[in-house]
Each structure stands twice: as structure tokens, then as C-alpha cells.
């Protein structure tokens, strides 16, 4: 489309006739018929730089100085990267003791970037044209003539391609276009496979010993004092195992010991051993490790969203967004006197998922 085709209303008002920008649309005075008349643009005021060449020179020098400062800072960045040993520490008020390299790299990079921006802004504010221009709105819709031309062109194209006549080409093309996106859809298969029953099972099973994560030794009931807190992992899971993180994320346990008469929940008492109870460490809200245990109140608090569980009452939720109690692991003692699991968890650990029911 050539420039002659630009519709009249797209041309900025009075632009051509006014190269100094002093004029503006004829002011319509507000009267009773038209109380909210367009007051037009205010008269343009010149900046100091527009009329005083010395001031303009000063601005120019300042902008150039900022750009030079940026160059110096960039060179400083490279120099400090090369020259400063990365274990050197200096004292800078008010940051305190700080790595000399971090400090100089950060300062140089910051100054280099900020100076470019500040120079550009100062340049635009003081030296570039600041004449107010009204840029009128215009309808988005094309002219009727243009629309008719486009439609005619389309019809002509359809006729020339003989798409309507050569049905074989048309149908195979549609087939190719429809099938092609399937390759993209197919890649989504890598999101799977479906978890199956993995969310319902952990590494715990009958007879697995409770191993203290601090000492890597199996726990005896006498090791666990009332008011103490111990974290355990299932026997056979070692920290250097490839799947350690994956498995401990489900199997992590916290072991506490209560006076048996303090346990209010009947099932909790049955599943405990001499007041020793084992609860999943994974919050049932979104799965944060929850172990902020208060030994006097027997409350465990989740640090993420403050869900609070009463470990003396079946780990009931007493505050916060968690949907259900922490799963408890049934424990007992084996023939050698070590604490062992009596089964896997009876319900999925961690956050709820929709098939959980």
C-alpha cells in the first residue's frame, strides 16, 4: 500500500503545516451545548537547552560523561575480575565485611548499566525534541475499497489454485495438516508414565528396622527418651544411594516418645511402642518436611504454612491449611530388641491427590 492510500484521518492533525510544533487544534470554547470541549494542547514552553546553546553543550557533556563512566565501569569490571583474589574480604560501611570481588564486580556492573540508562534518559529529557504532538485515534477497520480488494484477491487466488476442482490435492493437504500436530502431542508422552500405586507406598514394610539418621544405627526403645526428637530412615536406604532423595521424601519419619497416659488417641496408642510413636515427617498440605516439634505441647508445626498437628492426639490438624492428620507408622520391637516397622503406612503420605478419596 503506497502512502497515497493513507486515509485522511490517519494523518496527524496539522502536522504538515506546523514544523515547530507551536500550533494545536483550534480551541473549542466550552459552552452550553458542549460543556466538555477539548481544550487542546497547552502552549509549548521552551527548555533552557532549546534557546541557550551553552546549556545544550553542558547537557551534551553530561550525557557523554555518563557514557564514559559506563565504559570506565565496564573496564573496572573486567579488571576486578582479573586482579582481585576471590577470597579477599574487605569492610565496607554499611554492608559490613564482604568479599572484595563480589563488591567490586557488583558495583562496576551496576554503575555501567545505570550510566547507560541515565545518560539516555538525560539526553532524551534535555536535548531531543520535546514538542507535544497529538496522535489522533482512527478506526482499526480497513476502508471498504481495501476490504473489497482483499476479498477479490482471495477469490482470484482460490480460482487460480483450482483448490475446489482438484479434490484429491485438497483432501490430502487437509489430512497432512491435521496429522502433523500429532507429533507434538506425542512428545507429551514423556510426562508419564502414570504414577500407578507409587504414591500409596513407601519403603517401609514389615520387619524394616528404624535407623537413626544421625548415627546410621538401628534404634532401640531405650535410646528414645521422653521429650526427645529423632529422625529415622528405613533400614537399607543409604544416603549415597541413587534413589535416596526420592525414597526419603516419602519414607522420612519423626520419632518421639510420650508418656503412654498422655496419648489421647486410641489407635495412636495401639500403633506405638511403650509411648514411642512414629509419624510421617511430610506435611499433608503440600509436602514440606514438618518437624518443628514442641515437646511440652506435643505440637508439630509446619514451617511453610503453619499447619499444626497434635502428636498426642493422632496428629490431628489443630490449625492451618492441612487437610488431614499425619500418617502414623505402626512400630514394634523385633527379637533383638530393635525398633521395627510392623507394616507400610496404611494411607498415602504427603499432600492429598485427587484419587486419594
Amino acid at each position: 500500500m503506497s502512502s497515497q492510500d493513507i486515509p485522511e484521518e490517519n494523518v496527524p492533525a496539522e502536522r504538515a503545516s506546523d514544523d515547530h510544533g507551536h500550533g494545536h487544534a483550534p480551541v473549542v470554547v466550552a459552552d452550553e451545548q458542549n460543556p466538555f470541549a477539548d481544550p487542546g494542547l497547552p502552549p509549548h514552553e521552551h527548555r533552557i537547552q532549546d534557546i541557550d546553546e551553552r546549556a545544550a553543550k553542558r547537557s551534551e557533556r553530561l550525557v557523554a560523561m555518563l557514557f564514559v563512566l559506563s565504559m570506565v565501569a565496564t573496564v573496572g569490571f573486567i579488571a576486578s575480575y582479573v586482579a582481585i583474589p576471590n577470597d579477599k574480604s574487605i569492610f565496607v560501611f554499611p554492608l559490613g565485611h564482604i568479599s572484595a570481588m563480589n563488591f567490586s564486580l557488583g558495583m562496576c556492573l551496576g554503575v555501567a548499566l545505570f550510566s547507560i540508562g541515565a545518560g539516555a534518559v538525560h539526553w532524551a529529557r534535555t536535548l531531543m525534541s520535546d514538542v507535544e504532538i497529538a496522535d489522533e485515534r482512527h478506526p482499526i477497520e480497513a476502508e471498504p475499497a481495501v476490504k473489497a480488494k482483499v476479498l477479490a484477491d482471495f477469490k482470484q487466488g482460490a480460482k487460480e489454485s483450482a483448490l475446489g476442482r482438484r479434490k484429491l490435492i485438497r483432501n490430502t493437504m487437509f489430512g497432512a495438516l491435521a496429522l502433523f500436530p500429532l507429533s507434538g502431542v506425542m512428545l507429551l508422552r514423556d510426562l508419564g508414565p502414570l504414577p500407578g500405586t507409587k504414591l500409596r507406598h513407601t519403603l517401609w514394610s514389615k520387619g524394616k528396622l528404624l535407623v537413626n539418621m544421625n548415627t546410621n544405627e538401628p534404634l532401640r526403645p531405650s535410646d528414645v527418651a521422653v521429650g526427645s526428637l529423632t529422625f529415622v530412615k528405613p533400614e537399607g536406604l543409604e544416603e549415597h544411594d541413587e534413589d535416596f532423595q526420592k525414597e526419603i521424601a516419602k519414607a522420612a519419619l519423626m520419632i518421639i516418645r510420650l508418656q503412654p497416659e498422655d496419648i489421647k488417641d486410641k489407635q495412636e496408642l495401639e500403633w506405638s511402642y511403650q509411648g514411642i510413636v512414629a509419624y510421617s515427617k511430610i506435611c499433608t498440605h503440600v509436602g514440606c518436611p514438618i518437624s518443628l516439634y514442641e515437646q511440652q505441647t506435643h505440637h508439630a508445626l509446619c514451617p511453610c504454612h503453619q499447619s499444626t498437628f497434635d502428636l498426642s492426639d493422632g496428629a490431628r490438624v489443630i490449625f492451618g491449611p492441612a487437610g488431614h492428620a499425619l500418617p502414623q507408622l505402626q512400630i514394634g520391637v523385633n527379637a533383638e530388641g530393635y525398633l521395627e516397622a510392623l507394616s507400610d503406612f496404611q494411607e498415602p503420605v504427603g499432600p492429598a491427590f485427587w484419587e486419594r478419596g
Partner: protein, 269 residues
Amino acid sequence: MKKLSARRRHPLAAVVVLLLALAATGGLYAAFAPAGKAQADETAQSLGITEGKKLYSVGCASCHGTGGQGSSDGPSLVGVGAAAVDFQVGTGRMPAQQPGAQIPRKKVIYTQAEIDQLAAYIASLGAGPAIPTKNQVSPGGADIAKGGELFRTNCAQCHNFTGKGGALTHGKFAPSLEGVDPKHIYEAMQTGPQNMPSFPDTTLSEKNKQDIIAYLDAVNGDETESPGGLELGGLGPVSEGLFGWVFGLGTLVAVAVWVAARTAKAKKS
């Protein structure tokens, strides 16, 4: 021998044998017993207990009962051990100033000698953990990396990653571990003061505790270097977010105002 043998069925023979056996045991004990320790028990230890009981009656008995049996205002002290007393009184938490969600750390009002006497008295009420020796709490030679691992497993959930402390429920909080005497850190782990769970030697060995103390000394000590500078309390996203919103966003707003501000206009003349 014949005479002895002949009288072995005499009615008094059993009594004579018993007397002889008792004399022999007593004599052996007197000969082999650790004399120095027994003597110390006579003087310093029992004196400490007596003095400690006096201090206890004045400063502690109103809440913990006249014999340490506890009351509605304070728990029983039977079996808490000397370590618990050294921690609670040595950090100024005890005697408590006022009841509340948690008794905070404050100015220590007893001398170490008086604390030792109080501890000796409480330890005499029932067996409990003893005050650790200098050697036990010294961070020298411990495994700092292992200590960090243990700290993150056992402590960081409440005390934050470098021991800066954090909030708990209903006004309770995990205090900052900055500037806390290694002895008191050790005692806190062993005894579990207030709502802190305990980590007895059976689940967190003496060596483990030393490693943790060494880790805290490395990340939170006076000599600790902070490569990033300006830690903002080391509390993580809360203080950092606040700083970002106030100063970061504030700077951006100021720059935006400058960009859009009216430039100086030439005066009309």
C-alpha cells in the same frame, strides 16, 4: 583343722562365718576404695549440695516446690540433672521473671560458683545429665561439614540454617544461637529446655554434638566471613523480601519519577 572341722555344725558357726565375711569385705573396701573421691564427697560436693539447697530455697522453691517436686507454677526438677540447671540459670532464663509463652534469655543473676552449687543440689535429687566438660564442648578437631548436615537435619527447622532463630506457635520462638556459649548449646541439646525436644547421647552422640557446635562456630561465630555482605539478619525471604519491596521498588519508583518529571523550562523574559 580337726577342731574347726569338728565344730562346723555348731549352731553359732554360721554367725561366725558371716562375721568373718563381713569383716573381710569391709577391710577390702577400705583398702581399695578410691580414697580421694570419697574425701571430696565429704567436703566440696556435700558442701555444694548444702549451699545449693539454701540458694534453691530462696530463689527457686516458690515455683518448683520445697524439695524440687514441682508445683502448678513450675515443673518437677527431680532427674533433670546438673546440665539443665547450668543451662537454665547460666543463660539467665531461670529464675523466671514472669509467666508467659516462653521464658526468654536475660541477664544472669547468679555467679558460676552459685550455679554449680544449685546444680549439685538438683543433681542430688535424681540422676540426670551432668554439666559437660570443657573438652566435650570444644569445637576444635570436630567435623564442620558433618555438623552442618546434622544441624540441617535436627535443628534448622526451628533455628534456621545458620542458627538465627525463628517463630513457633502462640508466641513461642526458637532463639538465635548467636553468641551462645558452646557449653549451653551442648546442654540445650542434651536436656531439651522448655519446648525444645531433647537430643540425648543415645540418638545424637557426643561427637555429633561437637560437630554441631563446630558448625555453628563456623557459620555464626565472631570470625565468620560473609561474602555477600549486609545479611539483613540472615532470616531468609522475610527480611530480604521486605528490603526488596521497600528499597528496590522505592528506587525504581524514584527513577520513574525522574524520567517523567518536567524538565526545567526557560524563563519568559
